[in-house]
């Protein structure tokens, strides 16, 4: 019997001929990723265990994407400590503040490739699934990976989601991803790998696939993945990175369930506070005044997300009483925004462009919300306090909807402006 793509990657990384759901395996990381908010703690844990260096420093990636610009001396001192730890660890794949969001730029420079197994501290490592790579998060248990290269995992079941049809104008892949996590729900998603497939992949770019792979973790999915097809190969060739190897589920692989979604039926949606799967049609929230609007975070900071916002903002201004922040996902994204004139659009609109990184999605860093404020944002989650004040409310939507709402000062359907 065949294996799903996630099972194939786990089997290869665990040195086993085959794995089955429910089995306990110890995959060795092809790459282990950790960000600035956790390095000091991880090192403290490792030193308490007598471990001074990671098991294989060449396979460890450290990036500075959360506290990109330190807002206090304490945070600056922690940044200094992180740089010293990275030097002692002998990590060569260390990326300084401003380089980009850690779930975005490593794909653009070929550190993440189809078929790889990446073990991470942070749950949004599932973004890498857009290139056919399996990203698995361990959070607090991550020191085990740094010390040994591996840790125990139970092989998850795979839920296959076949996408057909095309999105209507003004409707985005973020809307579709939000509808999918609402439909599958926490009970259906718990500890599954979402594998996206179907005829719609032919016209879904790598940027779009990242959106699909980012959201499932919010309802408890273990990971998300898309097969590495010709579009991925082309995307890698454009960037001069490789080698490309196709990665896909075997014929006859055992999926727990197969769900079908018609993209042409998707309408713009919004996730009401306080959970990301509290997804309703956008019309139910239309007209609600907002004081803050944000496009960015690992859920929406690639070039297509920037272009989506710019298409609405072109020739328009952010409404009085609204502040809009935009953070490109990487230096590559920022550079292309400059070359293509998007930065000029943002500046003319009166939007504030922050440095590449996680932006205010990291508990309000670089632009926290105040008490009683309402924000519309592309961020990953809308829990209480996610972007600052516990008394603020966060509505999750696509970059197009966020931009349209910033222009009017009220939650607005982007199809009024584009499409």
């Amino acid at each position: 019997m065949g294996m799903t793509l996630a099972e194939k990657i786990l089997a290869r990384a665990s040195g086993l001929p085959a794995v089955r759901p429910g089995e306990i395996v110890y995959p060795e990381a092809d790459l282990a990723t950790i960000h600035d908010l956790y390095v000091v703690e991880a090192d403290r844990d490792l030193l308490s265990l007598g471990v001074e260096k990671p098991w294989d420093p060449a396979r460890v990636l450290v990036c500075f994407d959360h506290d990109v610009i330190p807002q206090s001396v304490a945070v600056a001192n922690r940044a200094r400590a992180i740089r010293e730890i990275v030097r002692r660890w002998g990590v060569t794949r260390f990326f300084e503040a401003g380089r980009g969001q850690g779930h975005v730029f490593p794909m653009e420079i070929g550190l993440v490739r189809p078929g790889m197994c990446v073990l991470a501290y942070d749950p949004h490592v599932t973004n890498y699934g857009a290139l056919g790579c399996l990203g698995l998060a361990l959070a607090f248990e991550f020191p085990a990976v740094l010390a040994t290269g591996s840790h125990w995992f139970r092989v998850p079941r795979t839920l296959r989601i076949e996408l057909g049809g095309r999105l209507a104008p003004g409707v985005t892949i973020r809307d579709a991803a939000a509808v999918i996590i609402r439909e599958v729900g926490p009970d259906g998603a718990d500890y599954r790998v979402f594998e996206f497939a179907g005829p719609a992949l032919d016209h879904l770019s790598v940027d779009a696939r990242v959106k699909l792979c980012n959201l499932p973790v919010e309802v408890g999915a273990k990971s998300a993945i898309v097969e590495a097809d010709g579009r991925v190969e082309e995307w890698m060739r454009e960037r001069g990175i490789g080698p490309f190897e196709p990665a896909a589920s075997d014929p006859g692989a055992a999926f727990e369930r197969i769900l079908r979604f018609d993209l042409s039926a998707v309408e713009p949606v919004v996730a009401l506070p306080p959970t990301p799967d509290n997804v309703v049609p956008l019309r139910e929230a239309l007209g609600l005044p907002v004081q803050a609007a944000y496009v960015g975070s690992c859920a929406a900071d690639q070039y297509e997300d920037m272009a989506e916002a710019a298409a609405v903002l072109r020739g328009r201004r952010v409404a009085p009483g609204v502040r809009m922040i935009i953070t490109p996902g990487s230096q590559e994204v920022l550079d292309r925004c400059i070359r293509d004139g998007l930065m000029a659009v943002f500046a003319a609109a009166g939007a504030l462009v922050g440095p590449p990184g996680c932006g205010p999605c990291a508990i309000g860093r670089g632009g926290p919300l105040a008490d009683e404020e309402t924000c519309i944002a592309t961020v990953t989650r809308n829990d209480v306090g996610r972007m600052g004040s516990r008394k603020a409310r966060i509505y999750l939507a696509s970059g197009a909807t966020v931009a349209a709402s910033a222009v009017t000062g009220r939650i607005t359907d982007p199809r009024e402006f584009v499409g």
Binding site: E41, S48, A74, S150, D383, G385
Partner: protein, 191 residues
């Protein structure tokens, strides 16, 4: 390890979030660095729901929660704080990542006990055997059974959680990935 805890029932509803209800994430940071010491974290446990909870809770008390206890971003700190207070957990269900973190935090738990919030009340005296999977409500004279955690995971909890288990793993013979480097946990039964 003594797997039996006896104390007051603190009953909560469904969907308690890791980052706000159980322990507000911003409170994890001291001088910009996360604290993972249960003795320090315990001061903030459930304070957004019950401001004086850490003063009122006693070691041996049992948190009884509804469905999807510990939903949200997988931050372990509230669970470490609960261990710092000497509490045990009985929940109707938890997300799979939280199941993993209960073990990593070393928190005695019965994470899949359906309808428990309909059987016991806040303030009841409970006696819970986490190894046997038995909840006794001494105030009401009733007893409820729940699937205990697998023995291999109880062993990690008995050691004090994942850091202590890793210490043990590192001090024992280093075996290659794919080998038996740690106790092999099993899927919880949800019967």
């Amino acid at each position: 390890m003594n797997w039996i805890l006896q104390g007051r029932c603190w009953k909560f509803g469904d969907n308690l979030s890791l980052d706000d209800d159980i322990l507000e994430f911003a409170k994890v940071f001291v001088q910009g660095v996360r604290v993972s010491d249960p003795a320090q974290l315990k001061r903030h446990v459930f304070t957004n729901l019950i401001p004086d909870f850490p003063e009122r809770a006693k070691p041996g008390d049992i948190v009884v929660a509804g469905k999807r206890f510990g939903q949200g971003n997988p931050h372990i700190y509230g669970l470490l704080g609960m261990r710092g207070l000497g509490l045990g957990l009985v929940a109707e269900s938890v997300p799979r990542f939280t199941y993993r973190m209960l073990v990593a935090a070393g928190l005695p738990s019965l994470p899949f006990c359906p309808e428990i919030t309909k059987r016991v009340e806040d303030g009841d005296q409970l006696r819970v055997d986490f190894a046997a999977g038995r909840i006794e409500d001494l105030s009401r004279g009733l007893s409820v059974e729940a699937e205990p955690l697998p023995a291999a995971l109880l062993e990690i909890i008995a050691l004090g959680g994942s850091t202590q288990a890793l210490r043990k793993r590192l001090t024992e013979e280093r075996r290659p990935p794919g080998g038996e480097m740690a106790p092999a946990p099993r899927e919880p039964s949800r019967a």
